[in-house]
């Protein structure tokens, strides 16, 4: 017990204030470290940093093989631009996973709003772009709300519910679109530019995604609601006993995930200029993968959206880098799969080690 000084022949209790490694102290008695040391150790030992270093390594490797990978104007732009859409989905997914749920319907939501974007521009050629983005956000939020209500009130795992709505939403999109599809010509030029224009060398889309990331990340860290999401994922039963508004928070998480998927749909249209039946097919697994690789525990309660965002960057960048590294991009999915497995095995190993350290600290304090 950490709060009682027990005399015990085998434990040298007088050294307890000096001879502990920073990492161990961080776990058991973080306050003993100075604030700067604490912050430094936290950052150094974080999953976000390690995955970020992997990302850097991939970029460096690819760039040494092929300068244009990063140092051409297109290379730089694509490095930032391509992950932006997945980043939005990964942020939403991370929030849902933190609550110990999962949202598999994001790809279908994205398809629906991508088509909605096109339809709106075709039917109302003069509609302001902001209105279209708002409509997509709204539709996504409503679809997310449906998921949320079914999960929060139905008492059924999110996996099953969102698997069902994955079918339903895509079916609705395909039925609505028929054999119709949206071409670049149907869309106003300014809207298409949204998908490609840069400000100070940073694509607009990336800025948008980063702003969303910053807001969600800030909320999760500093707002009561954000912390409650972690609490719910950490132990749902305790959260109920605690009197936390569990259902409302779950609804909010699913609405956020849906809304971000909705926004992603609109941005997809801006970026690619065409909407076909295959928009967002299978992207839900990539979003889950990004979150998991970025250190969001699949059983909830821990992880950050920053990690998920870096995970999204890593996935997309690896995909781009494989051809440069001389690997056929057909192998990309295998690499993604191996990354997911590696990430969860690593998490497991770290968790077991941490639990063991914490248990042992009970003996030695």
């Amino acid at each position: 017990m950490s709060h009682t000084d027990i005399e015990r022949p085998d434990s040298s209790h007088d050294d307890s204030h000096t001879e502990v490694s920073a990492s161990e102290a961080l776990l058991v008695e973080p306050s003993r470290l100075s604030p700067t040391r604490r912050a430094l150790t936290t950052v150094l030992r974080s999953r976000e940093l390690s995955i970020f270093l992997v990302l850097v390594a991939v970029v460096v490797l690819a760039t040494t093989k092929n300068n244009a990978f990063l140092f051409s104007s297109d290379g730089w732009r694509n490095f930032l631009l391509n992950p932006s859409i997945l980043l939005l989905l990964a942020v939403g997914q991370a929030v849902v996973i933190i609550t110990r749920n999962v949202d598999l319907s994001v790809g279908s939501v994205m398809a629906l709003t991508a088509y909605l974007t096109g339809r709106l521009f075709i039917e109302q050629p003069n509609i302001p772009i902001v209105a279209v983005l708002a409509a997509c956000l709204l539709l996504g939020a409503v679809l997310g709300l449906v998921n949320g209500v079914l999960v929060a009130y139905g008492g059924v795992p999110a996996l099953v519910i969102t698997l069902g709505t994955l079918y339903i939403y895509r079916g609705i999109m395909l039925t609505w679109a028929g054999s119709d599809r949206i071409n670049a010509g149907d869309l106003p030029r300014e809207f298409l530019q949204l998908g490609t224009r840069s400000v100070l060398g940073v694509p607009l889309l990336t800025i948008l995604a980063l702003v969303v990331l910053a807001i969600v990340g800030y909320y999760l860290y500093t707002a009561r609601g954000g912390r409650e999401l972690y609490a719910i994922g950490s132990d749902p039963d305790a959260a109920v006993l605690y009197g936390l508004p569990v259902r409302r928070r779950l609804l909010a998480a699913f609405v956020l995930s849906g809304a971000l998927a909705g926004l992603a749909g609109a941005l997809y249209t801006a970026r690619y200029g065409t909407v076909s039946s295959s928009v967002g097919l299978g992207i839900e697994l990539q979003a889950v993968a990004a979150a998991v690789i970025g250190g969001v525990a699949i059983f909830g309660g821990s992880g950050t959206v920053w990690g998920a965002a870096i995970g999204a960057f890593l996935l997309v960048t690896i995909n781009r880098a494989l051809p440069s590294l001389g690997i056929e991009d057909f192998w990309q999915r295998a690499v993604v799969g191996a990354l997911i497995l590696g990430a969860i095995v690593l998490d497991r190993v770290l968790a077991v080690r941490q639990a063991r350290k914490l248990a042992e600290s009970r003996d030695h304090s």
Binding site: E7, L27, S31, A231, G301, A359, D363
Partner: protein, 505 residues
């Protein structure tokens, strides 16, 4: 209701009932707590105390009865509502979020905010430090809740509750895992809260604490209100007879058995952070009681011996033959049986039928050519259920529909069907009504008389003292005393159970 609000009690419950499916947890609970007083609630395991607390907290909604807070009728449907009405509750089982820091756990949902509705972490850490100082403990406010000892978890729960600044503070067995020093601190805090005019409800099985702290005491039995006394007007023995409803002696029908060869031998069993250097021996016909505070590691030792958990070092043998580590099936083959403490989660497959449960361990031997049908299982399970007089209408009823005592009989039947040499039984009578309790004790005694070796873990001192031939006391994962039946007095056992902690300060 002529009394004005000022004179109204802070909490008043009358004839409150609550059932879980077929289980009546609370028949007619009543409780009246005045401002500026500490009210103890006592009763045997399963008397319905925690259920009453959970009704007050808004975890459960009562089925019937009245519930008033400060004279106003209330009907909470969530714990958020009760919190808002000024009710703080420490639940019997800790409810922490393992991934979050200790401080976040204390302030979840009502964090201190700085400008812009931003959480003010430094202020929260400072406040947490203040709370821990007041409770006289040293826990790092920044560390994760994961890995805390049961006692520390309980401390966090207490800190959480007192920081709520509530008019009614309910504490369900807050001291079960605490040592003397910590208990004293807690009591000092509780008294200061009382002197501020708040009302406290205190649940404990330790009479010395009840008499030390409380002003008034209410006794419950079998889910019903029995009586309320002022502390000055009552004695421990009176409370006991009120609680039990009859003479205590016949609760422990211990018959002397002939003690034979050693059956279980445990040598130097250790597991980092949980238990250390455990040496145990149980002989044929002997009942060894394993005593200690909650969280002392008794269950952990039992689980490691049976092979459900792993251990780092040491050895276990039955009748001189070593038992494979971490392999319950080979432990069963070697003649061990294990009745775990949590019936609903570990002892039974609660949603499965009586048959499937009783035949659960022996089904390999009743299968013919590897094939098994329900009727084969019924034929094997029926007689065992009958011998233990399990009360059920048919063998395919699920165990969930049965009372706690009957469920316990199903578990015992399941293990007796394996013809064990050694029976490890953890909390044999937790949550069982008084009548069945005596029956279980008689059964244990009888089994020992037939030459079975029994290792019994119990948090109830009378049970340990009444049933065991020998008492082994565990404190913080170490054996601190081994007492013969003659030497095992309540004082000796309690001293050993808190031994480590008391010499420390």
């Amino acid at each position: 209701m002529l009394a004005s609000n000022a004179a109204a009690p802070v909490l008043e419950l009358r004839d409150v009932s609550k059932s879980f499916g077929p289980v009546v947890a609370l028949r007619s609970g009543s409780l009246r707590v005045e401002a500026g007083s500490i009210h103890a609630l006592v009763g045997e395991n399963g008397a319905g105390k925690s259920t009453l607390v959970k009704v007050v907290a808004g975890v459960h909604r009562r089925d019937s009865g009245t519930f008033e807070l400060g004279g106003e009728p209330v009907d909470f449907s969530s714990t958020a509502e009760s919190k808002k009405s000024g009710v703080a509750v420490i639940y019997q089982e800790p409810t922490l979020f393992p991934d979050l820091s200790v401080t976040e756990n204390i302030f979840m949902g009502r964090q201190i905010l700085a400008a812009g509705r931003r959480i003010d972490r430094p202020a929260m850490y400072a406040e947490a430090e203040r709370l821990f100082d007041r409770l006289g403990v040293r826990i790092d406010p920044r560390r994760p809740a994961e890995g805390l000892s049961i006692a520390d978890q309980q401390i966090i729960e207490i800190a959480k509750a007192i920081s709520l600044d509530a008019r009614l503070l309910v504490m369900d067995e807050p001291t079960a895992a605490l040592s003397g020093v910590e208990v004293d601190r807690l009591f000092a805090v509780a008294r200061s809260l009382r002197d501020e005019g708040r009302a406290l409800v205190f649940i404990s099985h330790r009479f010395d604490e009840v008499f030390d702290l409380a002003d008034t005491v209410t006794v419950m039995r079998d889910g019903s209100y029995i009586d309320t006394k002022t502390i000055a007007d009552t004695t421990p023995s009176e409370l006991v007879s009120l609680m039990v409803g009859r003479d205590v002696d016949d609760l422990f029908p211990k018959v002397a058995a002939e003690i034979g060869e050693p059956v279980l031998q445990v040598r130097g069993l250790s597991r980092a952070g949980v238990f250390h250097d455990i040496d145990l021996e149980v002989r044929a016909g002997e009942i060894v009681g394993l005593a200690g505070l909650v969280g002392a590691g008794r269950s952990e030792v039992a689980r490691a011996v049976f092979g459900v958990d792993s251990y780092d070092s040491g050895s276990v043998s039955v009748s001189g033959r070593p038992v494979k580590a971490k392999a319950p099936r080979s432990a069963i083959r070697d003649g061990m049986a294990f009745i775990p403490e949590d019936r609903r989660k570990q002892g039974l497959v609660i949603d499965s039928s009586v048959t499937r449960n009783v035949a659960g361990v022996i089904r390999r031997s009743i299968a013919k050519a590897g094939l098994l049908t329900s009727s084969m299982e019924n034929r094997a399970a029926g007689p065992w259920a009958g011998r233990l007089e399990v009360k059920t209408s048919a063998l395919d009823m699920t165990a969930a529909t049965m009372s706690g005592g009957n469920q316990q009989k199903v578990v015992i039947a399941k293990w007796l069907a394996t013809h064990p040499k050694l029976l490890i039984i953890d909390e044999p009578t937790r949550g069982i009504d008084v009548g069945t309790k005596a029956e279980v004790h008689r059964l244990l005694s009888e089994l020992a008389g037939q030459g079975l070796a029994i290792l019994m873990i119990s948090s109830e001192l009378p049970e340990v003292l009444g049933m065991a031939d020998r008492v082994v006391v565990l404190c913080e994962g170490r054996i601190t005393a081994e007492l013969d039946r003659a030497d095992a007095t309540p004082e000796a056992v309690m001293h050993a159970a808190t031994h480590h902690l008391e010499t420390a300060r």
